[in-house]
């Protein structure tokens, strides 16, 4: 489908690269959003990349909406001709799957769930055709994910699994949203994973919890001193299953300022990725370990 341009009132331009989710659509929207950022078009105050679309906020006192549209359209051509390569980061996120805190929460809201007799992990395992929860966790943590959007609330990453579409984990959201979700819950809704940056309402299925804060308005967490939000659109995430002891240790390390997430700068090439997804992912993961 061709890229669709539409105005959100007199202050926003909304650009939809595709109405369905795909890595190609995500890549195009991120490239265009980055292109807009680099172009320095006057009067633009916000550039928000999303999964397969992006949004610009502008000041119509400084630039006419039609001029914003014209300038952004011009960037589309350049974005399409550009190499589908981004410089980004890969980060390893420890996850305590099937933890007691999300378990307590999901039991409290069981009547809002499709399958009140099991857990969210049981349900996701069954409807995605995995043998058991361990098998499901292996799939969830076995391939990297793209941070395709940061938002909803402060610092929350939406993540898109970097595997063939038929292998992607998909689960519906809760029938009715919960009024509570533990902070740092690793969740999933539709084809998107997320990490809840703050405690609050939520509708995604809950699989586990990470000990690693990703939003800290006090900026006291050692790796969030420079900026309070950890994630950026385009980051690559690899989950690492940990047990209770490792979780407790990590929480203590965070508190004492000793925790630092393994992060490496990487260059991601969409064409190379598509030629050999499994091989490319293996190489990406190797980079976390310094290979």
């Amino acid at each position: 489908m061709p890229t669709r341009y539409t105005f959100g009132g007199d202050e926003h331009l909304f650009v939809e690269c595709s109405d369905e989710m795909s890595l190609e659509a995500f890549f195009k929207s991120l490239s265009m959003a980055n292109g807009v950022k680099e172009s320095g078009i006057k009067g633009i105050t916000e550039i928000c990349p999303a999964n397969a679309s992006f949004q610009i906020k502008f000041d119509p006192d400084l630039i006419k909406p039609d001029d914003v549209l014209r300038e952004v359209r011009a960037i589309e051509g350049a974005a399409e001709r550009a190499e589908p390569v981004i410089r980004t980061r890969i980060v390893e996120i420890p996850v305590f799957y099937n933890d007691p805190w999300t378990h307590e929460t999901l039991m409290r809201f069981r009547e809002r769930h499709q399958e009140p007799s099991g857990t969210d992990l049981d349900y996701a395992t069954r409807i995605n055709g995995y043998v058991d929860v361990d098998d499901f966790v292996a799939a969830h943590s076995g391939s990297p994910w793209f941070v395709s959007m940061v938002g909803f609330v402060a610092g929350l990453p939406f993540m898109y699994q970097m595997v063939e579409r038929q292998r992607q984990i998909q689960v519906p959201k809760y029938l009715r949203p919960r009024t509570d979700t533990p902070r740092l819950t690793v969740g999933h809704g539709g084809c998107f994973g997320c990490i809840y940056s703050v405690r609050g309402a939520g509708g995604y299925q809950m699989f586990g919890i990470t000990p690693m804060p990703i939003f800290d308005p006090t900026q006291t967490t050692s790796y969030l001193r420079n900026f309070m939000v950890f994630f950026r659109p385009g980051d690559v995430v690899k989950f690492k299953p940990i047990d209770r002891d490792a979780y407790d240790q990590a929480v203590e390390d965070v508190d004492k300022g000793r925790f630092s997430p393994p992060v490496r700068e990487v260059s991601f090439d969409l064409r190379e990725f598509q030629k050999d997804i499994t091989g490319y992912n293996t190489r990406l993961e190797g980079m976390i370990n310094g290979h």
Binding site: T6, G9, E20, E46, P60, F152, F192, V198, M228, V229
Partner: protein
């Protein structure tokens, strides 16, 4: 100089004109819902328009002042009293050390703006003093005020006392409210009948109306053009692949109750939006109470820009009248 909070009202927060530039990380603009009223209150007490003041909804706080100062209250019609003596709205009045500011019940509108000479001097977070409670960011300790809080106040410039905004420059919505909407975004997902009924029906503000968004009820359910839902969008016809949400955009989950996102908006999600309230009408929403009858009025981009120019002219007139 400080203000002691004796009672917090219902939900009183420190606000200024907002925190642009972080929506791509999920941190919303924030700031006064009725920015015109906030600017007016600041200009009345001799502050910069962007100084921090208090926004109180439906119920006023009870505040004690530790030093002599000048205060102005704008926005909703909720008479202020200093040690029991009524003070005029949209007018700067003196408050002496030890005196207490209280408010009568709300008569019309929804939100008052309280400006104090020198402004509320809480720390600046990401370029703004606005409170973003979900992120525990900005404002007074990242949260709405509570009894016992002490708000630091900056140094005023000694001007303001006795200044007043003329009647024609005061603004409150008159029921029924007309909100002008530019159709767009996922407008074409709607069936023709829904495109008509949305603008033809009378809606009412639902009780779920706050700084994140205003929900409406009472109109007919909107129907969609049938389609095979795109991959990643979710099964309901009102679902889309999660996208950003513009401020003022109108989402209608399940086609039943329109929600207009406002200053503390979530930055994105998976519900289709049928259009966006124009910038000139956003302040009005902040003054709407639950049950307010509302109509949505379709406009073009040219009409939206003309309305914005009118609002800008009104703001210029306000600045001139108070300079």
């Amino acid at each position: 100089m400080a203000i002691k909070v004796l009672h917090h009202g219902l939900a009183t927060t420190v606000q200024d004109l907002g925190r642009p530039g972080y929506f791509h990380l999920g941190i919303p603009l924030g700031g006064a819902m009725d920015r015109y009223a906030m600017r007016a209150a600041n200009l009345l007490v001799g502050n910069d328009e962007g100084a921090a003041g208090l926004e109180a909804v439906f119920l006023g706080p009870k505040l004690e002042f530790t030093e002599d100062t000048v205060v102005a209250v704008t926005g909703a019609d909720m008479p202020a009293r200093v040690d029991g003596v009524e003070q005029p709205g949209w007018t700067a009045f003196p408050v002496r050390a030890g005196q207490t500011l209280t408010f009568d019940f709300l008569k019309s509108g929804a939100r008052i703006y309280i400006a104090v000479a020198g402004g509320i001097d809480v720390p600046v977070a990401l370029g703004s003093r606005s409170t973003y409670p979900i992120g525990a960011l900005g404002g007074y300790k990242g949260r709405p005020l509570a009894a016992g809080d002490e708000l630091p106040i900056g140094a005023g410039n000694g001007s303001g006392e006795g200044r007043s905004v003329g009647e024609p420059l005061r603004r409150l919505p008159a029921a029924p409210v007309a909100l002008r909407v530019l159709p767009g975004l996922y407008w074409d997902r709607l069936a023709d009948a829904a495109k008509q009924s949305f603008f033809a029906d009378e809606w009412k503000v639902a009780p779920e109306a706050d700084r994140m968004g205003y929900r409406f009820r009472g109109g007919r359910k909107l129907s969609f053009i049938e389609r095979q839902q795109p991959f990643g969008a979710g099964s309901d016809p009102s679902n889309i692949v999660d996208s950003c949400y513009p401020y003022g955009s109108i989402q209608v989950p399940g086609g039943t109750e329109p929600i207009i996102l406002h200053r503390d908006a979530v930055s994105g999600g998976g519900y289709f939006m049928l259009g966006t309230v124009i910038s000139a009408d956003m302040d009005l929403i902040g003054q709407m109470q639950p049950h307010t009858p509302t109509r949505f009025v379709e406009v073009t981009m040219d009409e939206a820009l003309a309305a914005r120019a009118e609002e800008n002219a009104r703001l210029e007139a306000l600045r001139t009248s108070l300079s």
